[in-house]
Assembly symmetry: C2
Homo-oligomer: 483 residues x 2
Amino acid sequence: MALMLYNSMSRMKEIFKPREEGYVGMYVCGPTVYGPPHLGHAKSYITFDVLAKHLRNSGYKVRYVQNITDVGHLTDDGDNGEDKIQRQARIDKVHPWEIVDKWTRQYMNDMEKLRLAHPSFYVRASQHIPEQIEAIQGLIEKGHAYVTENGNVYFDVESFPQYGKLSGRKLDEQKEAVRVEERSDKKNPRDFALWKKAEAGHILKWNSPWGEGYPGWHIECSVMSNKYLGQTFDIHGGGLENKFPHHECEIAQSEALYGVPFCRYWVHNNMVTVDGVKMGKSLGNFKTCEDLLSKHSPEAIRAFILSTHYRSPSNYTEEAISATQSGINRLSQIQNELLELIDKNVGASVADGEAIKLADEVNEKIKDCLDDDLDTPGAIAAIYSFVTNINRFIGSSSISSETAKKVYAVIKLWAGDILGILPENKKASSDIDLGPIMDMVIEFRKEMKAQKKYDKADAIRDKLKSVGIVLEDTKEGVRWKRA
Amino acid sequence: MALMLYNSMSRMKEIFKPREEGYVGMYVCGPTVYGPPHLGHAKSYITFDVLAKHLRNSGYKVRYVQNITDVGHLTDDGDNGEDKIQRQARIDKVHPWEIVDKWTRQYMNDMEKLRLAHPSFYVRASQHIPEQIEAIQGLIEKGHAYVTENGNVYFDVESFPQYGKLSGRKLDEQKEAVRVEERSDKKNPRDFALWKKAEAGHILKWNSPWGEGYPGWHIECSVMSNKYLGQTFDIHGGGLENKFPHHECEIAQSEALYGVPFCRYWVHNNMVTVDGVKMGKSLGNFKTCEDLLSKHSPEAIRAFILSTHYRSPSNYTEEAISATQSGINRLSQIQNELLELIDKNVGASVADGEAIKLADEVNEKIKDCLDDDLDTPGAIAAIYSFVTNINRFIGSSSISSETAKKVYAVIKLWAGDILGILPENKKASSDIDLGPIMDMVIEFRKEMKAQKKYDKADAIRDKLKSVGIVLEDTKEGVRWKRA
């Protein structure tokens, strides 16, 4: 089966066929770095993390570019309001770059903790001012943009009749969405800013043919995606909430400038909701990644996100995240058991054939799920059912170490490397090696039993349990493990 | 005592007086991000980290700006050769921004692990192309730069007679230092590039009034330091090896353009040597921070660097770094003892007065050391001698908890917050609480002793020692601690 992706532009699932055989160029709208990343961000970036990893595992060479918006994103979609970063800088009484550095760092750290791979590289809006100015000049020359007396430059939406084709918004709805203040110098309320004149006191500003100012929010993405991925690149990703006006504007800018389609596939992730309402910074109902990571494992957060299809909303509750942990613990346990089995050098077994058949089947099944427009809930269900099935081959009627290796490879690949819901296998997460200490404790307990002090022996077991260590009686003697 | 800084420009220690009372602007030459940070980098950035922290602790509001060179730094000081980042990208077969992202991340992570505070913000060369072009235009207009037929722009060193004032290099020495190829289009071998025409295949390039090209390495620092810190800002820091030509060129560019002194204090750190030879990437004799951090504690690496004055070379040997660990352990031990004492709520003691006197004295003494051109070896010696002196007040003739708090505050401030050689106080670095387990082990040993199985009891002690746990007999019974 080939990868199918739902293309927001055609409004249907399409077979994914990149522009150039074997290579994929993907651009994803990154964060505006003025505050803490929250679960809504996590849903978007985990989605595209899985997509990039699945593409790479399918043999594609992927260039994944993500932007960092460090200038030009206003508090208001109607091109009024203040630059979000500059506003925060004013509140914190620091230079805007301090805001940008702080929150970019937090964003990248949080995403690392959530086990995302970094994109191939990040690109910043402020790093591409000349390119943005050149693109705006090109749009003016082609009659798609106009300069006002105030020194603002707007895209002339009338000049691009296809405007609205991605979001499907009709003219009236477009006007509705971007309320324009009366004092606006736009010819038409639907027009959007390419360049804004810097008001007195504006810090992030540059010289331009139209005076000192700064780029509008939308132009950076057109310029940077085309610069690093070429014209008509493969995948443009982003949150559903950016479909209009942001992505609509990107299309208008790039297609008006270059006269060719902007990109081949538009992939939009749905939002995270809280009691049915979108989680967002402006609504104040958001849960930061940092906060969630202090309460849940990264795997639990990923499993929560990936248990819902990316095109459906994920409804956040603490319980919904916690509920994923038991499945993850099961994964972790089978990982430990398989690794032990691999270590033991068990020879061929009658169960090998069946176990390998199951592993091959689930491998195929999960690939099919992800190929089907990234059906991560299906993939997770397949993994869990596999874990249940394989469990009976571990223990008494054991599979061989060789087979255990093959079984583990499947779990490691999909649950570990691609979905990121398999906890890292850390034998020693403590800086003190517990092994020799536990040997003594176990010996002590044995001694107590030998002396028929069973109360004492039981007390030792209970005390260990209280700190998260479980004792198991095996044929080889007493073993301990972390609960 | 006021802060004295050795000013490389005047070649003497001067009283530090910022341009604006209470505020300090500091610019430090950051890394060219194309390879792993090594101990030579660590010496430079630890030096300025301590300077920034000492200034802040002295009551200054410090804006500390560091650049990230992501374009224009050529493999050859004579303005020939390849862009270092582009060269690495060619070798790794990736886009130059992948090199930049990878090594910027490594740099920041390593510096965090080495307990450096981030600068107020980082600024990138590629983020300031328009500003660099404008500065070059200004220099051409003022007659300090010329455009060649090839589309290169050079600074005309003859036009700036003070060239050489920082390094003290005479004309002949200047020529010697920047060997120029015969095919160079410079008027004068001493001239240096402000803008280079992009050769075919050059990736990092921008449009300019002189055609497609990229900025010379030196212009970014002039432009960014002046943009964010203003003209004649306070402190310019960097490695000694950048004095000529880099810093000399920065001075020429900025002073020719603005007609005022570039900065007030030039602070240069000396290098790290290996067997007397400079440690550097090009020489291949470097130790990466990552490698060193896998063998030594961050505190040991910092103590090694700071035990030599920043203006003297540090000679690297593994033994020299390891040798600092015992002093650090002593610091860590007194920290634990003081924290225990604070927890115990001990009332007033006859020893309080003397202990507080010692603490006040050492506080004054360390401040004086750091005020004396950042005499970190002196400061460390003072801390160690204080620890020895204070040790006798802990134990039998104990000081009060209140006094212990004051003593600890002094150690925490200087050894912890400013010099960064005091290990973090982590009571529980393990995810399993060792307390209840160790209680059982200790009980077991007691049991063995009671049964006169002394060999067994000793074996327990030895086994614990092997994993880094030490048992101590006290009046209250046996206590354990991490070695």
